[in-house]
């Protein structure tokens, strides 16, 4: 329930292009454990939405079940939210966007919700290239049921109880690239700057944007032997590139050294600016993206950044060729064919 009323901001107050303050993007207080990676991601979501100037009423927050799926209550109080069924957020999100194509769908899921119970719906969401920002808050364990391994736990990683994971991890980014997502990134909750840039890029994208964010569980998976802990992440994170974002309403005023950056224009006219680090990587090449992921898996590297981007592919709503207005609120005269149509149909059946 929206309790924040829109008082005209005081002149000194910092506001975005919609004249909204960052506080207008806040949610309820979190009930997650202190220090949870997910709370950090919620904060970056608030920041990204605020800085981008997304109208809160246009956002639909969708989630499944689990710690991660609770978080939509902790940002954007002025947006509708739907905490749905375990692993089935993709279908609810699909329905919502079909009903109202003007919605900015933000799905928040976890590794259990996406990689296990929900993997069926996840892969079909990817295949449809539904316009959605799909965030996986990935900590390798089930938190709400107290610390069992999830399907993204790395081979050989250790539970607090000493149990060793003897099955290979499902790489959600590989799945996403392979099955049709058009914006695929990996990040780390301990790297807020990158998270914000990748989120903004996803907001400007017009298809399925999957961001797999390693988000440590401070209670069940933050110990030595875990490959999803803060310290492991901080020690091992390797940036694919430096991600910067320039929204459509700002001029590109930085001069980059020739060949040092890659600048990709997004659907809404915004740009992701990818600054080269050690490797020369082109995220618009699908084959390269899959190679990169396979390679990093073999070398047990923790690569973060923008892995794949395709700005050309049609999304589900375009493919369905639906009218420009939201279907949900079309007036009856546009959804009830005339009497003559029924007469014609009846005559053919006589």
């Amino acid at each position: 329930m929206a309790t924040t009323t829109s008082q005209p901001p005081a002149p000194s107050k910092k506001v975005n292009r919609l004249n909204l303050a960052q506080a207008d993007y806040k949610g309820k207080p979190s009930t997650l454990c202190k220090g949870c990676g997910h709370d950090s991601i919620s904060s970056q979501l608030i920041k990204a939405f605020y800085e981008y100037g997304v109208e809160p009423h246009r956002v639909a927050k969708l989630s499944g079940i689990g710690c991660s799926s609770k978080t939509p209550a902790y940002f954007l109080n002025r947006s509708h939210g739907f905490n749905a069924v375990h692993g089935r957020m993709p279908s609810v999100a699909t329905g919502s966007v079909l009903a109202n194509r003007d919605l900015v769908a933000v799905g928040v899921s976890g590794d259990g919700d996406t990689a296990s119970i929900g993997i069926g719906q996840f892969v079909h969401l990817l295949r449809r290239n539904l316009p959605i920002v799909y965030i996986v808050e990935n900590n390798g364990v089930y938190g709400l049921t107290k610390g069992q391994f999830s399907a993204t736990a790395d081979l050989g990683s250790k539970l607090k109880t000493g149990v060793i994971n003897d099955l290979p991890a499902i790489d959600l980014c590989s799945l996403a690239v392979e099955l049709g997502a058009t914006y695929v990134a990996r990040s780390f909750a301990g790297d807020p700057k990158q998270v914000v840039a990748l989120l903004k890029g996803a907001f400007g994208h017009n298809g399925t944007a999957v961001i797999d964010i390693i988000s440590p569980c401070v209670t069940f998976n933050n110990h030595a032997g875990s490959t999803k802990s803060y310290s492991w992440g901080k020690e091992n994170e390797e940036l694919i590139q430096e991600v910067d974002f320039i929204p459509f309403f700002e001029e590109i005023d930085v001069d980059y050294e020739e060949g040092s950056v890659m600048n990709v224009e997004l659907h809404d006219g915004s740009h992701v600016v990818l600054k080269k680090l050690e490797r020369d990587y082109d995220p618009t090449n699908r084959r390269r993206a899959l190679d990169l992921l396979l390679d990093s898996d073999e070398k047990e590297e923790f690569l973060t950044g923008l892995i794949y981007l395709d700005t050309e592919k049609k999304n589900l709503i375009d493919l369905l060729n639906v009218v420009d207005e939201p279907l949900a609120t079309l007036p009856l005269e546009r959804t009830r064919p005339p009497q003559s149509a029924l007469d014609e149909i009846m005559d053919a059946l006589k």
Partner: protein, 614 residues
């Protein structure tokens, strides 16, 4: 009164013609194209003004297994399945002998000559026809020859029953529409059939079709197409589905109709979206997501799909989200009799999901009710913000039924209690789950509503009036009590029963859905043959409406008739009438569960049997 249909036992009198009151069964091999032939035969009789009904009894198979099609002509307009077969067309070597053995004495058999069926019995009328050899006269190609052999029997039967050749020609043109080559070939096959019968067969059975005027202005349609039309004319915008027999044709018809009638005039773009989901869980998830965002959305499925939807439907109940779910019921699990009909999902669907859930169920009995409920289901779902199930079945959904043309829905649709930005501005303070009007139904807002107070957070049962998270016992109890109150309000608004009370009748009959047609005929049988008067209460929805109690009160014995083994509706009545043990004591059960549509004779026999024991 014609004794043929009513006496139960056939007293054949060759001199006395049996006109427009018999059933034809065509036994063929699945995938042999017999469906077109059967449709042509049925339509030709229909065009002669004679009431008809067709029942396709088909296997779960693409090609090769036996299949039967029954056409009933009834001058009394009885359109339930008739148990006894009067004319068998035996085209399938696999089942021919068994089919012939099952016939009652005096029946007629048209059969492929090489099967030598006439040796089996001497109390039937046999018409051998060399279908294979005749088809070769029309065409050489083996596959087409099989199709044409099926059309030849239409000619043979047409000749034997005196069906107007011209009506058959018109039916063929309708069936094959603009495919000139197909029309020509099939007409040739018909001609060969007629000529063979005229020159080689001597009519020695009493069956005959004569022109009537009972089908003028009627339509022929299946229930799934009717439901699709009802949905299209009542503003459906989002459709999701996972293919499952016998429900697939509902969405397929809807797609076909909407592609023509639901494109925006100016832009040519669709005023609808259809998604074939990855499974039924996703299908219903999409429906809930779309309805949450304000669209009229539906999915269509059958029993196994309903099971998969269970979890989501529970969430829909507690989070109070509209959904329309068509259940085209069939027999049990997927590896069973998935292409046979039943009313077997009633009890489980009524209570589908976990944690005190119950739902609104509609029971269409006819294709026109399928059309009407296409709109009623949405009005109820949006008014009550809850999943609504339309409980059709394979018999209604996939078979072709005669009907008056559907009436154009003139009334506006009911979109329920939705607050838009303007309304929010007026009301000021609101709460998603507050019972403002005392009817248990709260107000909702749609995502995308441009108002600072519009948003709320949707989750299961753990919410208070303001949709805030809570696990407080009093909040939960309050929510549950309000949901129960909402259900009581719905009781007054679901389609009311259709009741026929006979003066002085001791016996009442309760039925629903397709069982209706057997009841109509059985009541006539009971009156004519046994001088038994019955009253009839046709249920059209759950929850039960209060007038059921008064109906039971007025009768000594009430037979609840349904197509399942466990008397599911009777169980629901016992549950809901727990406060009236005197009424429960009057309830009896008539059941039919062999996978075939229920027939009047079976009802009459069971009722008389139980009356004898009383």
């Amino acid at each position: 009164m014609s004794t043929q249909a009513l006496a139960g036992e056939k007293e054949r009198d060759e001199k006395k013609a049996v006109v427009n009151d018999f059933s034809i069964q065509v036994a063929t091999v699945n995938g042999s194209g017999s469906q077109s032939s059967n449709n042509v035969l049925m339509r030709a009789i229909f065009q002669m003004g004679v009431p008809v009904s067709g029942k396709n009894l088909f296997p779960s198979n693409i090609q090769g297994l036996p299949t039967w099609f029954t056409i009933r002509a009834s001058k009394h307009s009885y359109i339930a399945r008739k148990r006894e077969i009067d004319l068998l067309v035996a085209m399938n070597a696999q089942t021919a002998r068994e089919d012939v053995q099952a016939l009652t004495p005096g029946s007629a058999v048209v059969y492929e000559e090489s099967l030598g069926l006439d040796e089996l019995r001497d109390d039937l009328v046999f018409y051998p026809v060399p279908f294979g050899a005749l088809a070769r006269e029309v065409i050489d190609e083996t596959r087409l020859r099989k199709l044409l052999a099926n059309m030849i029997y239409v000619g043979v039967v047409g000749s034997l029953l005196s069906i107007d050749k011209n009506e058959i020609r018109l039916a063929i043109e309708k069936q094959f529409k603009k495919k000139a080559k197909a029309v020509e070939l099939n007409l040739k096959a018909i001609k060969i059939g007629f000529e063979y019968a005229e020159t080689h067969l001597t009519k020695s059975d009493p069956l005959k079709i004569e022109r009537m005027d009972q089908t003028a202005n009627k339509i022929l349609i299946d229930g799934n197409a009717a439901g699709a039309l009802g949905s299209m004319f009542n503003g459906v915008t989002v459709v999701t589905w996972y293919p499952i027999t016998p429900s697939s044709s509902l969405v397929e018809s809807l797609i076909d109709y909407m592609k023509v009638h639901r494109l925006d005039e100016e832009t040519g773009k669709a005023t609808f979206a259809v998604v074939q989901a990855e499974d039924e869980l996703a299908a219903v998830g999409m429906v809930l997501g779309a309805a949450w965002a304000g669209a009229r959305s539906l999915t269509s499925t059958s029993g196994p799909g309903i099971s998969l939807m269970s979890e989501f439907v529970g969430l829909g109940y507690f989070a109070e989200i509209p959904a329309v779910i068509w259940d085209i019921q069939r027999v049990g699990p997927s590896t069973g009799l998935p292409t046979r009909t039943a009313q077997g999902d009633v009890l489980s669907t009524y209570l589908l999901s976990h944690g005190d859930t119950k739902h609104l169920l509609l029971f269409p009995a006819s294709v026109s009710e399928c059309f009407d409920f296409g709109g009623v289901s949405f009005d109820l779902a949006e008014r009550f913000q809850t999943p609504v199930f339309v409980m059709s079945d394979l018999d209604l959904g996939m078979n072709i039924w005669m009907s008056d043309p559907f009436s154009y829905p003139e009334q506006p649709i009911d979109r329920g209690k939705v607050l838009d930005a303007e309304a929010l501005e007026k009301v000021g303070d609101w709460g998603r789950y507050r019972d403002v009007d005392g009817d248990g139904i709260p107000y909702r807002t749609l995502p995308g509503t441009n108002h600072d107070n519009a948003a709320y957070f949707t989750r299961g049962s753990g919410h208070n009036d303001q949709a805030e998270y809570t696990e407080r016992p009093e909040d939960y109890s309050k929510t549950m009590a309000r949901l129960a109150r909402k259900f009581e309000t719905a009781r007054q608004h679901v389609p009311q029963p259709v009741v026929h009370e006979e003066d002085g009748a001791e016996i009442g009959i309760v039925a629903y859905g397709t069982t209706h047609w057997a009841i109509v005929e059985s009541r006539d049988q009971l009156r004519a043959e046994s001088d038994i008067k019955t009253s009839y209460f046709r249920l059209r929805a759950l929850p039960l409406t209060p007038d059921l109690e008064s109906f039971i009160e007025k009768h000594d014995r009430v037979y609840v008739t349904e197509q399942n083994r466990d008397a599911q509706m009777l169980q629901i009545m016992r549950m809901e009438l727990a406060h009236r043990p005197d009424l429960i004591a009057k309830l009896r059960s008539i059941l039919h569960f062999d996978g075939h549509p229920i027939d009047a004779r079976s009802v009459t026999e069971q009722l008389l049997d139980q009356e004898g024991d009383r």
